[in-house]
Assembly symmetry: C2
Homo-oligomer: 330 residues x 2
């Protein structure tokens, strides 16, 4: 069994960028977000189409950063939360490059980066995109209620981030962060059946992937500058630390994107941020720039996703989850 | 630009199997289908859960054929048509192996095989699964109407196949079919907006991928024993031949899985079969056995998918589509 993918050719993240909404720009990380769409309709008639446009803008921004045009992309790995991944599908139509659509729910940023890294490292692509997005209004309609319903939210619920992020992966490039190792997640289900507590549903998947990765590489959490999770929020983050502690793994250098993108002392965001765009925006605008600035050199980035739909939830099913991990170094 | 993925290490399809429903077993290919679920509920309370079970049985059958157990799978590439790909997600939960969830609509069989081949060829996995399914009753509820509604069907509509198929991909193995080349599809949209004419929506994507592949490899359709498409049906197949003819490409050796899985002179199936399970079942139970029996030696397998959801369709969007191609040889 191969628990860890080894990328011998050091596929590099040539550039990364993200576009966020107004609420995200007003949060604790606001100063990092220089591409803000104050009008989250982006001039489109529906939230779903707005999300596609958000994604397209993130891709174009990342391409600009890498100094290449869309025609140089051999493949784009992308996905989102909408049924049948339409945010990504319609973006791919607009971009016109080969498209490998993935579904990892909120784990999509690490899943798509893992795929892009494998394709570049293995020589199947010269340049590959890794792309994802989420949009609060599209996600509410998809998973909960249309906004007009004005449903109340529980303290464990999380607020879907309106953001899209994109990384451009290419051949080994000195001075650029590169993807060294990765672990594909297993689907784990501890029987959580509260659709308003995704953090609890996802924490066991994060614990499983991190445990497998550390065992296979013979490393400890302290060997990394930071262990980043996607969007466990306050509730899921605490559960992750407990689950790991039970396995003898102490998580002293943990950072959860969902806990830092909003001010979680504000009641409206519940236990924190969520959505594919949450970890994507934090990766592209905070974590990768920190690597480039020499503030960190070796991180684990592990986005987590809850693989449920309203149909299965309404049928009484519990919520399975997955976490894909990548080790980024510079 | 790399239009074609070259798999130098000849990743082999160690085994493949499929499980089909009653209607499929009664069609023209019935004699090939030796795993039939006459009760398409598979003992489950809902159609969605029945589809997961169908997928799980196909995976176990393929593993049995390869003489290995699930623990030997380093990764499973899988996907389906349900919103948030839940048929695959719940199967992955049951199987417990690393899971790379893809969404390619009815192109999933070639998309997942392409991913599995790349991971094995590149050394990221020793053994990988490629898995997909569709279920008529789950798909009707997802994309059209609940069965109880008794909606009428148009002549261009297709009948979603109830079937799951799985290939086990491993290192180069003499005597086994291997994956030589592949092309990742672009998302193409010719403006078709009739949800009951998926064949017309998908034909341009198939034409695009095949044209790109032939140009990049310097080959002609006649260089292959058969050019197989997934589920264009009668309408889409005719359109594909026309589109290719306009580009100077004659398609004399074409076979569409959607045209052969049912008797299309029967009015209930409209223009033919569709769904991820259609091309999966034909590949696993007819095409690969023909390669093993020496009846063919070099085929192109190109499943096609329409990347739309009811939400976007109801918003007036047209239907984008994708086709992923793999070249299988023995």
């Amino acid at each position: 069994m191969r628990e860890v993918l080894v990328f011998k050719n050091r596929p590099s993240i040539l550039a990364a960028d993200a576009v966020v909404g107004k609420k995200e720009s007003e949060g604790p990380l606001g100063r990092y977000f220089d591409r803000v769409e104050a009008d989250t309709t982006l001039g489109k008639p529906t939230w779903e189409q707005a999300e596609s446009e958000l994604q397209r803008r993130a891709l174009l921004a990342a391409l600009q950063g890498a100094g290449c045009d869309a025609q140089q992309l051999d493949v784009v790995f992308g996905g989102d939360l909408q049924a049948q991944c339409t945010a990504s599908g319609y973006t791919a139509r607009a971009v016109g490059r080969p498209f490998y659509n993935v579904y990892g729910a909120c784990s999509t940023m690490s899943q798509s980066l893992l795929g892009a890294a494998a394709f570049v490292d293995g020589g199947y692509a010269e340049t590959a995109g890794a792309l994802t997005s989420s949009h609060f209004c599209a996600a509410e309609r998809q998973f909960r209620f249309p906004l007009e319903y004005g449903g109340q939210r529980t303290p464990t619920s999380q607020w879907t981030v309106t953001a899209a992020g994109c990384c451009i992966v290419g051949r080994s490039t000195p001075g650029r962060p590169y993807i060294h190792f990765a672990t594909v997640g297993r689907v784990i289900d501890y029987g959580v059946n509260d659709i308003n507590n995704m953090g609890a549903a996802m924490a066991p998947a994060a614990a499983d992937t991190l445990t497998r990765y550390l065992a296979a590489t013979g490393t400890r959490t302290d060997d990394y500058d930071t262990v980043v999770t996607g969007d466990l929020g306050n509730v899921g983050s605490e559960l992750l630390r407990q689950l790991l502690s039970q396995r003898g793994i102490e998580l002293r250098n943990h950072l959860d994107c969902g806990c830092i993108i909003y001010d979680t002392t504000r009641s409206d965001v519940g236990a924190g941020g969520s959505g594919c765009g949450c970890s994507a925006a934090v990766l592209c605008k905070c974590l990768l720039p920190q690597l480039l600035a020499g503030q960190s050199r070796n991180i684990l980035f592990m986005a987590t996703g809850a693989l449920m739909s309203t149909a299965l939830y309404q049928q009484g099913e519990t919520i399975p989850a997955v976490a894909h991990l990548i080790n980024i170094r510079i």
